[in-house]
Symmetry: C2
Subunit: 205 residues, 2 copies
DNA sequence: TATAAAATCACCCATTTGGGTGAACGTTAA
DNA sequence: TTAACGTTCACCCAAATGGGTGATTTTATA
C-alpha cells in the first residue's frame, strides 16, 4: 500500500510541525503544509492529496471552512477539521460541509491517526454506497413475498435504466418473459411502474 | 428541544459512571446503562434511544460490534464506539458496521459531547440524503445545456416515481405541458426514458 | 420597449409499458 | 408420484410514455 498523501493546512507552525512529526514516521506522506488560505488553494491544485487536515481558524478573513467548500466543490477529497475551541457557532457552521472527521485540540498522535484512518474509510464507503449495490437479500428483507432470482435480475436491470428489450437481449429470454417477471415483481413490491419500484428500492438501499 | 435519549453500553462501572456524569448535566438523558450484551439488547427494545454509546470490549464472548449489528438491523439508531485504539484488528472489524463516530479512550467530556453531536448530525444527514437530495445546481453542474426550474421540478418528480398524471396534478399544469418538459429535459440529459434519467442522476447524486 | 427565454398547451403517431389469462417445461420436495 | 414452484413463452388489450411539430402567453432583461 502506497503512503497516504496528506495536505496540512495550519497557520500555527508549531502545531503544523507537530502534525508532521506524528504522521511522517508511519504510513503517511505529507505532500505540503499550507499556512494560509491562498497557499492551501494552490497546494491543493498542485498535489491533489488523499486527505486534507484543515485548521478552521487561520487568523485571516477566510477560514478553513471556506477551503472546505472549495475542496467539496472542485476535488471531492475528504477533509478533517482541526478545531481548538468548542465554539458552538463555528461547529454549527462546519457541520453542513460534511467533514470526514473532527480533531479537537489538544490532540495526541493516537487521536490524529484514528481520525484520518476512520475519515478515509468512511469517505470511501460513502463513495461506494452512492454507486449501486442492490442485493436480493436487501430487497427480500423488506417484502413478505420474496423475489425469485430471475425477478431480482430483472428488477436490478430496471434500476439500472434498462428497457424490456435490452433485458431480453442481456438475459437471453423473450420480451414476453421479461414482462411476466416484471408483472410478478410489481405485485410483490406493490407498485405499478418502474419508477415507483426504483423509488421504493432507494428508500431501503 | 427535548433531551437526547442515550443508551450507554459499558462493562466498566467506573467509565459508565463517568459518562453518565458528563452527559446528565447538559442536554442529554441517559435512558439506561447496560453492562452486558443481553442487557443492552433488552434496554434497546425497552427504550429505543436516540443514540447508543457502545464499548467494543465488554469482557464477554460477544462484544459491542455484535450489538452494533443488531442496532443496524432492527433499529437504525446511530451508535458511537468507545474504544482504546490499541487493537488494530478490532478497529478493522468495527469499521464496516458504519458507526456514527468513535471515541478513543481515554476521553474527556469535550470529546464525548463533540462525538455525540457530530454523530447525530451526520446520521440525520445520511437519512435525509438517502431520501432525495437532488438540487437543480447538482444536475446542471453535469450538463452543458442547463435545465430550467420547471424542467427540474418534473425531473425530480420522475426521480420520485411519479407518473405524468400525478405531476400534472401536483404542478397545476396540463399533462401536455408535463410531456413537453420531459421531452426537453430528455434532450438535455441525452436520455430517452425515465429510468435512464434516474440512473444517470444517481451517478451524480 | 423590443427581444429572448421560459412556460404553457394541443395534436398526431409510434412504441413501450402495465394488466390479465393461459400454458408448457423442469426441478424439487413432500 | 403428485404438488408446488420457478422459468419460460404467447396473446390480447388498455394505458402510459416517447418523439415531433406548432403555437400562445408570461416573464425576465437588455
Amino acid at each position: 500500500m502506497s503512503a497516504i498523501r496528506v495536505l496540512v493546512v495550519e497557520d500555527n507552525p508549531l502545531i503544523a510541525a507537530d502534525i508532521e512529526q506524528c504522521l511522517t514516521n508511519i504510513n503517511f506522506h505529507i505532500v505540503a503544509t499550507a499556512f494560509t488560505v491562498n497557499e492551501a488553494i494552490s497546494e491543493l491544485a498542485a498535489h491533489t492529496p488523499d486527505i486534507v487536515l484543515l485548521d478552521i481558524n487561520l487568523g485571516e478573513e477566510r477560514d478553513g471552512i471556506d477551503i472546505a467548500k472549495i475542496i467539496a466543490e472542485k476535488y471531492q477529497i475528504p477533509f478533517i477539521y482541526i478545531t481548538s475551541y468548542s465554539d458552538n457557532a463555528t461547529i454549527e457552521r462546519a457541520k453542513p460541509t460534511k467533514p470526514a472527521g473532527y480533531i479537537i485540540k489538544p490532540f495526541d498522535e493516537r487521536d490524529l491517526l484514528a481520525a484520518i484512518e476512520i475519515g478515509l474509510y468512511n469517505f470511501s464507503q460513502r463513495a461506494i454506497m452512492s454507486k449501486s449495490n442492490i442485493t436480493i437479500e436487501i430487497v427480500n428483507k423488506h417484502i413478505s413475498d420474496p423475489l425469485t432470482f430471475r425477478e431480482f435480475e430483472v428488477l436490478r436491470a430496471i434500476y439500472e435504466g434498462k428497457t424490456n428489450q435490452q433485458m431480453a437481449k442481456e438475459l437471453f429470454i423473450s420480451i414476453n418473459t421479461v414482462k411476466t417477471h416484471i408483472a410478478n415483481l410489481y405485485q410483490k413490491l406493490n407498485v405499478t411502474s418502474r419508477t415507483a419500484a426504483i423509488a421504493l428500492i432507494r428508500t431501503w438501499l
